[in-house]
């Protein structure tokens, strides 16, 4: 049955592709070969020891991480742990970092990251922070680009499936969050088939410009649709953010069919400056909501959580002018604003055209009240009043668009596996190039800013069968690099990505690389359990808790012999790395640890919690090859039976007993 259906669908889509591309169905051979030019290798070759031109940050999808690559080489640079625990560094395991993953649902060590967003100043990337969403348990994280570490996470209340997120405003005033799944707001126990009556959407604006102070500034109560992607305006459209929606049918089951009926869904246009006015005029409700804000203090080397108890909610009925709906064909995914801030391109994943709205026409339509109807207090504008044009026969399944700064837009097409390039003012397709295969988002460095770099395009492909050596049923996703500096797009490179990257952001290396922190200065270490000199290393017992204040440096621990631990104790190894040299972390692992190891950066303090279960002598050692005497960097902990009175004793070299 299923097989038949697939064949039918496949045949059908081939037919549609054929007719759309003016009777020129792609040949099988064309799909197989990658049509790489002979000069491609030289365009992506970065000799050993030389640096790439751009950093690229790929979302890790279901692995909850961010992966950093260099382009054009496609070399991997780092995997940043964001919403996932990391047994390598102890992120999410250590008492210092566990608060980072706390939510109103408890400790959540996983999520689904989709859209990285680089902070901007005046509509250009400023290289300070990268934000990324957690789709499953709605959260937004801040990654500090001096350390490439996650330093802040805020939970989004009244939201489910934080998908249109965390796109931001041109000075990083806010990053946004919209709910993919509408749910009862506030949550309650109701029949699912009461969707139309009980389910609501929310769109949240999160204050983002001050590290440590992320906050849900306000939420807007929206009709119960699915909100999909977002983009905030720039230049003339600064002050507005746009969100695509689907399931305007308000279906709650078999959405594949039931949410694909309407010929047009909506792009929601939110005027956040108007929202700020309403807030100052008191046109909002303080709604009870429990959500977490977690912040990692780089001087204390410690994260703290605070629990927030309410959120400011704006109902568009009480704040006219805050939200409008722009009809857009059909189940739109991407909503992307051109570099000049005037054009809003919708990617209707089931549409046969690419609709382009005009921001100035939208303002005019609002002024003239060119409304079709109103849904839950939100006016729906007339399609013809806001439309700039429809790009005819672009491709199948247009998803997401970026701009090159030279008047061209590039849209990824999932179903027909290609990228189309078109003049978005003239509404004319000028080039197309295949991808291998099923492209989701695409990226042009700076392609979502006022000043795109317009040199490369990266396609993020979902399916890569036959593109790499097979490794079993699951294959990595691919990133394909295209040179877009000329008239024709040219495929020049392909590399494979970790997780399921949905979107990526790229920034010129020069904007970041000189700001990178190489060590944490020991003098600034304010961790309450830090020891900054070997002479201060010690072991202290407090009832059943034993605190080991330990130091590490090439190539020894102080202390490296500890006795007097008893079964039933909880041992806290607070380990400070005394190194002040770049790229010299030390690791710490103890036999039988049920958690992780810890990898401690120069000048940093981290804690490994260990509960020994049986008497004996347990080795611990450095796990990161640090020096010629790395293998000698080790020690022992003696564990005695519960209730025994072996005195607490610790030393490195010359034995001393605790006073």
């Amino acid at each position: 049955m299923l097989g038949k259906k697939k064949v039918l669908l496949g045949g059908l889509s081939a037919l549609v592709v054929g007719s759309l591309l003016a009777g020129c169905p792609p040949k099988k051979e064309a799909l197989k070969t990658s049509a790489v030019g002979t000069d491609a290798a030289s365009k992506v070759y970065v000799p050993p020891g030389k640096h790439d031109e751009f950093y690229v940050f790929f979302s890790g999808g279901f692995n909850g991480q961010v992966t950093v690559y260099g382009i054009p080489s496609g070399r991997i640079l780092k995997v940043i742990k964001v919403f996932s625990v990391d047994p390598e560094t102890g992120y999410g395991f250590t008492p210092e970092t566990r608060p980072m993953l706390m939510t109103s649902h408890g400790f959540i060590p996983w999520d689904d990251t989709h859209h990285p967003w680089l902070s901007q100043t005046n509509g250009e990337h400023d290289g300070r922070w990268l934000f990324i969403n957690a789709n499953n348990t709605p959260r937004i994280a801040r990654i500090d680009l001096t350390t490439f570490e996650t330093t802040e996470i805020i939970e989004i209340p009244n939201s489910a499936g934080n998908h249109p997120s965390p796109y931001g405003t041109e000075n990083t005033e806010y990053v946004v969050a919209g709910t993919r799944f509408s749910v009862p707001v506030p949550q309650k126990d109701v029949p699912i088939d009461s969707y139309a009556q009980n389910f609501k959407g929310t769109i949240s604006f999160i204050k983002a410009n001050e590290p440590g102070k992320m906050d849900v500034a306000f939420q807007i109560l929206m009709p119960g649709f699915n909100y999909d992607l977002a983009r905030c305006g720039r230049g003339p459209s600064h002050g507005w953010c746009f969100f695509t929606s689907y399931n305007t049918e308000q279906a709650h089951t078999l959405l594949e069919i039931n949410a694909s009926k309407n010929d047009k869904d909506y792009i929601a246009a939110i005027n956040w400056k108007r929202a700020e006015e309403c807030l100052s005029q008191g046109r909002f409700q303080e709604v009870p909501a429990v959500y977490y804000h977690n912040y990692y203090d780089e001087k204390k080397h410690m994260a703290v959580s605070e629990v927030k108890k309410s959120v400011k909610m704006i109902n568009p009925k009480d704040c006219p002018g805050v939200a409008y709906l722009l009809p857009t064909p059909k189940s739109p995914h991407g909503v992307d604003v051109s570099d000049d801030g005037e054009y809003i391109v919708g990617g209707g994943k089931l549409a046969t055209v690419i609709p382009i709205h005009s921001f100035s026409k939208m303002l005019k339509a609002i002024e003239q009240k060119a409304f079709e109807k109103e849904i839950d207090g939100v006016p729906v504008l007339k399609y013809d009043a806001v439309l700039h044009c429809e790009v005819e026969k672009p491709c199948l399944g247009p998803l997401h668009t970026e701009f090159d700064g030279k008047g061209f837009a590039y849209t990824s097409c999932f179903v027909s596996s290609e990228v189309v390039k078109y003049d978005y003012k003239g509404c004319k397709v000028v080039d197309r190039v295949p991808t291998y295969y099923s492209v989701g988002h695409l990226l042009i460095p700076g392609g979502d800013t006022k000043k795109p770099y317009g040199k490369y395009l990266v396609a993020m492909n979902k399916i890569t069968k036959d593109r790499q050596l097979p490794v079993g049923p699951e294959l990595l996703q691919s990133a394909q690099l295209y040179d877009i500096s000329g008239e024709k797009m040219q495929l020049i490179h392909e590399f494979f990505t970790i997780g399921e990257p949905h979107y990526a952001q790229a920034i010129p290396a020069d904007k970041i690389k000189d700001k990178i922190k190489k060590i944490y200065p020991l003098a600034e270490n304010e961790h309450p359990y830090a020891v900054k000199a070997e002479k201060d290393a010690r072991v202290e017992r407090k009832g059943n808790e034993v605190h080991v204040y330990m130091t590490m440096i090439r190539s020894h621990f102080v202390p490296d012999n500890i006795e007097g631990i008893r079964v039933g104790d909880t041992v806290y190894f607070h380990v400070t790395n005394l190194e002040q040299d770049w790229d010299i972390p030390h690791g710490f692992a103890v036999k039988g640890s049920e958690e992780a190891e810890i990898l401690v950066m120069p000048g940093q303090t981290k804690t490994l919690v260990w509960k020994p279960k049986a008497p004996g002598v347990y080795p611990f050692y450095c796990t990161d090859f640090c020096s010629a005497l790395h293998q000698e960097m080790q020690g022992y902990v003696r564990v005695s039976p519960a209730g025994s009175n072996v005195p607490l004793r610790y030393y490195t070299g010359t034995p001393t007993t605790q006073k």
Partner: protein, 200 residues
């Protein structure tokens, strides 16, 4: 002394003031794992690293071969040197004012002697650091000492060690050169002076 030589001597002395603000000497270590290099600067009264942490890291590496840690506070020369240079400046200025030829010679000779003594002392410290090693050092290579070169470049295990004057050092050299120049000009001037008084 003629006026030009006196001026040069005064200039030579005043130039030495700059050595209080600029390092005299630099020692640099480069290894495969230290492509950016580790640097150590010797000033009239202190030793600093190329970065805030270079000295710390040099000492950390030195412990493998049993070299004593470099502790600038424990080096008595760094307490005396500012006064020695101060003396040279005062002596030079005074000589320039008095204009006695013998004082100019005395200044240059003192400078040369102090310079030789300084280099000899520096060599002695280098020798001591390089040879007087902890017998319990983890890395011991029979017959190998780790004395850095007095001037020049030398491979010490994986480290390429180089030792050269820095800006302050070159200024001292220039200052001494001006002293010699003052002598040369003074000699020449007095000879032509003699020639002039000869009857035609």
């Amino acid at each position: 002394m003629n006026i030009l030589s006196r001026g040069l001597l005064a200039l030579a002395s005043l130039l030495l003031i700059l050595t209080y603000f600029l390092p005299l000497w630099r020692i640099e270590l480069v290894a495969p794992q230290y492509p950016e290099g580790l640097r150590m600067f010797i000033w009239v009264n202190r030793i600093t690293g190329g970065t805030e942490f270079d000295l710390y890291n040099i000492n950390l590496l030195n412990h493998y071969i049993g070299m004593k840690p470099i502790e600038p506070e424990a080096i008595p020369e760094l307490k005396i040197l500012p006064f020695i240079i101060g003396f040279l400046i005062a002596f030079g200025l005074l000589s320039a004012i008095l204009g006695k030829r013998v004082l100019l010679y005395a200044w240059v000779i003192t400078f040369v002697l102090l310079g030789v003594a300084g280099l000899a002392d520096f060599y002695k410290w280098g020798y001591d650091y390089g040879h007087n090693l902890n017998p319990n050092a983890p890395i011991k290579i029979p017959g190998l000492a780790y004395q850095p070169p007095l001037i020049g470049t030398k491979q010490l295990l994986n480290m390429l060690a180089s030792s050269f004057p820095d800006v302050g050092g070159y200024i001292a050299v220039v200052s001494l050169f001006l002293g010699f120049l003052a002598i040369a000009i003074d000699l020449r001037f007095s000879e032509t002076g003699k020639a002039e008084v000869k009857p035609a």
